[in-house]
């Protein structure tokens, strides 16, 4: 039905992919550094390579990675690869491909980031709505506002503090790792709970750090909606505050928030990159971090691209789902 829209959105997606990949392609090439060389120089640190050989090896690998071809051809190959979901080969973890590496670490990040995004969406919007709702008691509004303060705390910092207080001092939750050392991953409930326990602190750090954003925007939205005539009319109808809150106020205020979901996810991914590290969770973030630190450029660009495409795709999906939630848009 919406063929035009669909094709337009797909075009948008392609444009995003194109822009992101172009940026990731050209930035390192504008810079005077040679990623392959840098990587091998780094490797030489652990011993063995001689300088004479280094250049030979670099040349050899440059060929493997196609870096000896003319720039435009490289660019073309790169683009063509991306369209086939081929993000190239890791420099550091050769012979693994970037896609393989992403698949290995993705589950952890998806688990963490998706759950925290949803949680912070629910919590933040709930608090924001309550903060704007004139009937809610002052203490509740103050709590909601104090969450805004938390928004000012970078999740890593929260993570550090949480580890210190809850992990070190109170010994309530594990200090790190994705699951208890030595357990063998399986499908059991026990394992699932173990994973959950380990995700709790990083999850809290991410949720606390991102709730405030939702509180702010939801509060703004909420005050706007509350001034709408249909809310007033609902009161005139004699509806109880609960029903009004739920069906008239929350529902309407929430809708525009949903469009922000995909972008919020993007922000959380950023936070997760740093947070995963301090909790020793082997997700995309940790992968990216180690890539950054080991000059594994192809992995860095691969992950950046992957995340970007993920976010853009989610944005498009949200856009397509949105009409299902908002009848006004459906109509157009």
């Amino acid at each position: 039905m919406n063929f035009r829209l669909l094709s337009k959105r797909l075009l948008f997606l392609l444009m995003v992919v194109w822009a992101a990949s172009t940026i990731t392609f050209f930035i390192p090439r504008i810079s005077p550094k040679n990623p392959v060389r840098e990587r091998f120089a780094e490797l030489a640190r652990t011993g063995g390579f001689s300088p004479e050989d280094l250049e030979v090896i670099v040349a050899d690998y440059s060929q493997r990675f196609g870096l000896d071809k003319p720039l435009l051809q490289q660019y073309g190959d790169y683009m063509w690869g991306i369209l086939r979901f081929d993000l190239g080969i890791s420099l550091n973890k050769f012979p693994k491909t970037v896609m393989q590496l992403i698949y290995e670490s993705l589950p952890w990040t998806i688990g963490l980031v998706f759950i925290t995004t949803i949680l912070s969406f629910i919590l933040g919007n709930w608090l924001g709505a309550l903060a704007a709702w004139p009937r809610s008691p002052d203490w509740l509004k103050n709590i909601a506002t104090s969450f805004v303060l938390f928004q000012g705390v970078p999740p890593v910092l929260l993570g550090i503090l949480l580890i210190f207080f809850i992990g070190f001092k109170l010994k309530l939750l594990p200090l790190g790792g994705a699951y208890s050392i030595g357990t063998v991953p399986d499908q059991s409930i026990g394992f699932f709970l173990d994973v959950l326990r380990h995700q709790l602190l990083p999850g809290i750090a991410l949720v606390l750090g991102s709730v405030g954003g939702w509180v702010i925007s939801m509060r703004g939205m909420g005050v706007t909606i509350q001034g709408e005539d249909y809310v007033t009319f609902a009161e005139h109808k004699g509806l109880g505050p609960r029903v009004i809150f739920r069906d008239y106020y929350l529902r309407n205020a929430l809708l525009p928030q949903i469009t922000g979901l995909a972008l919020a996810l993007g922000n959380l991914v950023t936070s997760a990159i740093v947070v995963e590290g301090i909790f020793a969770l082997p997700g995309l973030g940790t992968m990216l971090n180690s890539a950054i630190r080991s000059n594994d450029f192809s992995v860095i660009y691969g992950i950046v691209l992957f995340i970007t495409i993920g976010i853009a795709t989610l944005m498009v999906i949200v856009e397509f789902l949105y009409p299902l939630l908002d009848p006004r848009i459906r109509h157009q």
Binding site: I23, P28, V304
Partner: protein
């Protein structure tokens, strides 16, 4: 027609200052945010006037001293006076934040105006560029860029530039949306009828009304900039020697400060970071209220 004296000439609106304070009372988040900010500014300015800059760098004082009268925030493993380090760190954070924030906002405002006011192809181009760039996580690109520049030339200002690079799309879209709605307002039509030129209308009619939005965008930008600089510091891409708050927190971490019982080392800058970002978030929320008249509490 007879003109009877208006009885409401007699009504005196309370003066602006009173009104401002009353407004602050109604907008606690703004008030709270401004108060914290004011405190931080006083702290920094007072600090800058009293400290010895050298004390903010290693080997200046006796290391690993807990807070005392002489060193109100203690000293760290490297022998920095943490009070001096905090003052300098706040100052540098402010420089990055304000620089990136201001430029981002200015660029955003200019693009937003151009886009909305001239419409057509330019608008389509600017908005699509923004929309295409927005899903790209800025931080990741910043990492790539920061990783690609020659580290010897990384200073506080380069850091601000890196932060700025992907920071202008947000304001652009916000300002564009506002100008678009503003543009449809009748006073713009009237200004045209009064012989005003496009530029005149932009600067004299529309811009002043967007000040709250621009201010809100600015605050949001500063927030983003401070945040980004913190993250870049953590992944080791900042000017490491400088006592930027992020650097101090991170170096405390890498020296195991908590574990070794030197809690005062990371706590100070962490609290400062929380206060800076928290007050910005609160001000942002308060500004939101000003920018959105529906939310504005009735007067």
């Amino acid at each position: 027609m007879s003109s009877v004296t208006l009885s409401n000439t007699a009504i005196r609106q309370p003066n602006k200052v009173t009104l401002f304070f009353r407004y602050l009372r109604r907008n606690p988040s703004l008030t709270f945010g401004l108060l914290i900010m004011l405190f931080l500014v006083i702290f920094t300015v007072h600090g800058l006037l009293t400290i010895n800059t050298k004390d903010a760098y290693p080997l200046a004082v006796r290391p690993k001293m807990p807070p005392s009268f002489q060193y109100p925030l203690g000293t760290d493993f490297f022998g920095r006076d943490l009070y001096a380090a905090m003052v300098i760190g706040m100052w540098q954070t402010a420089v990055i934040g304000v620089f990136a924030g201001a430029l981002g906002t200015i660029i955003g405002t200019i693009f937003g105006f151009i886009s909305a006011y001239f419409g057509g192809f330019i608008d389509a181009a600017i908005t699509s560029i923004c929309q295409i760039l927005i899903p790209i996580p800025a931080f990741l690109i910043q990492v790539i860029i920061a990783g690609s520049i020659d580290k010897r030339s990384v200073t506080i200002l380069t850091m601000a530039w890196v932060v700025l690079l992907l920071a202008w799309m947000g304001p652009t879209l916000v300002i564009r949306a506002q100008v678009l709605s503003m543009k449809e307002r009748q006073f713009v039509s009237v200004a045209k009828l009064s012989g005003m030129t496009s530029l005149g209308i932009i600067f004299k009619e529309i811009l002043p009304n967007l000040l709250p939005f621009i201010a809100a965008a600015f605050i949001a930008q500063v927030f983003q900039a401070v945040f980004a600089s913190f993250y870049l510091a953590i992944v080791g891409l900042g000017p490491v020697r400088e006592p930027l708050l992020g650097n101090t927190i991170w170096s405390a971490q890498t020296q195991g400060a908590f574990f070794n019982g030197w809690w005062w080392w990371p706590i100070g800058p962490a609290v400062a970071m929380i206060l800076i970002l928290g007050s910005l978030a609160l001000i942002n929320m308060g500004m939101d209220e000003m920018a959105n008249p529906r939310i504005r509490r009735s007067e």
